[in-house]
Subunit: 255 residues, 2 copies
DNA sequence: TAGATTGTTAATCGATTAACAATC
DNA sequence: TAGATTGTTAATCGATTAACAATC
């Protein structure tokens, strides 16, 4: 009956949607064609009611008494996330990280189509990077006038990040994947997602030395465990479909 | 009065702590030596009460009527997160991403000391990678018996990730930074943090085409905005101190 | 049909934020 | 002292989960 729940969709729901998508792809490869929310919980650690609730924001996906059709659900989630169509992406920052990203086939595999790379280093501008040529970031607006990419990956040093973000916005980018450790100021129509990792390391570091760690004046603080105990399926926080960033090693570690 | 709040510390609090730390470092470099929670809110977008509450899990840090001493607070947060001392780190997966990480000076700068790199590719084992030599991942337990690293970075393809995680755990690693898009199964004493990015791109992708996007059968769904509107300080989600992953371009984009 | 499992409502849990007495 | 700002308690908000009628 109820069609689309037009309430706002929580960000954690969107994040989990990406997780479900990955999981469903795996299932399909294992030739599973139907799955129940209970089975999803068993295999991913994500609560069955959570799974159903997440989906309920977007419509009805399952058959009572039966479950969900794996490939159908996969397709519909892909459509919801708009990863069922190619999305043009530009990248600024042709350093170590930028290069690793440009050479990462997972982007194309997930229909993120890198259409241009930029840097401000005259030693790099004009040089090839994998299959692309490095452009002057000063020309990003001009160049993107034609390309019309809306997603930008920001892989520059912190001190350049805000400046580059401004250029991106000017160039029509309204979704930024930010690898720099700062709070970007952007107009309200622009979405930003931050990819951390030193932050993640700090969180891991905090947890070192077991359940109880001496802190401050010797008193101890323990940490909330997200309810996952024992050989837990789930981790301390959300699962995170990434896909081999490592790509080029892809064949190696299994060869 | 009240000393250490020995209640569990929420993970979002730990994440923000890393953010505060970065912010404080910036302040110190700007020669600010005292800051109030109200000013923190103005500059970072993080609610002042949130800031005070986060700190309250660990003790008292400010002076009523005055605020917080920047360098003192910085040191104490670093101590809480245990980033005030060197932490040994091993990395598995000497591909594009792994290499970018090994060559990334930000790790050392943040006192994460990469002490060994592993791969399973015989073409790579024995070869140098920056200042390290690539070891056979099969020897990780032996090698880490001496090194005693407790943090492991997992930068291998998805299909190898669980296997490598098992090896890491066997080798005494109890904190894993996982770049692979899967839910690792680990014993309960092991902490895992996932670094995503295709997932983040998917969340960005979802948001493309403005406030209202046609979804499913043409009905529309709008998205919760986390309360940040207008030229927002804050983004759609947590800030994320990363530090230039891009490192090698560090000098470039500002030269 | 009886059994299974959905979609959704209601209850619970936890995190964020406002309010304010304590205090510098 | 008066003004400012803390640390913390209480109120609010939102997300997770349990429960269950609808339904295949």
């Amino acid at each position: 009956m109820a069609h689309i729940n037009s309430a706002k969709v929580p960000i954690p729901t969107l994040e989990r949607l990406a997780t479900y998508l990955r999981f469903l792809i795996d299932l399909e490869q294992s030739n599973v064609d139907t799955i129940s929310s209970a089975e999803v919980e068993k295999q991913t650690g994500i609560n069955a009611a959570q799974f159903r609730k997440d989906l309920s924001y977007f419509g009805e996906f399952g058959k009572p008494g039966v479950g969900y059709n794996v490939s159908d659900l996969q397709n519909r989630i892909a459509r919801i996330l708009k990863v069922d169509v190619d999305q043009k992406v530009v990248l600024v920052g042709a350093g170590n990280l930028g290069s690793a990203l440009v050479g990462y086939p997972g982007l194309k595999e997930h229909r993120f189509n890198l259409v241009a790379v930029f840097d401000n280093n005259y030693g790099k501008i004009g040089k090839p990077l994998w299959n692309l040529e490095i452009n002057d970031v000063a020309a990003i607006k001009d160049i993107n006038q034609k390309l019309r990419a809306r997603i930008g990956i920001l892989a520059v040093p912190t001190n350049a990040a805000q400046r580059v973000a401004d250029l991106m916005v000017e160039a029509g980018i309204d979704a930024i994947l930010n690898f720099a450790p700062l709070l970007l100021r952007v107009p309200s129509h622009v979405f930003v997602r931050n990819v951390s990792f030193l932050q993640e390391l700090a969180v891991l570091s905090y947890h070192l030395t077991g359940e109880t760690t001496p802190i401050e004046n010797g008193t101890s603080v323990s940490v909330k465990n997200n309810g996952n105990s024992d050989m837990s399926l789930l981790q301390n926080r959300e699962p995170s479909p990434l896909s081999e960033l490592h790509s080029s090693i892809s064949q190696n570690l299994n060869g």
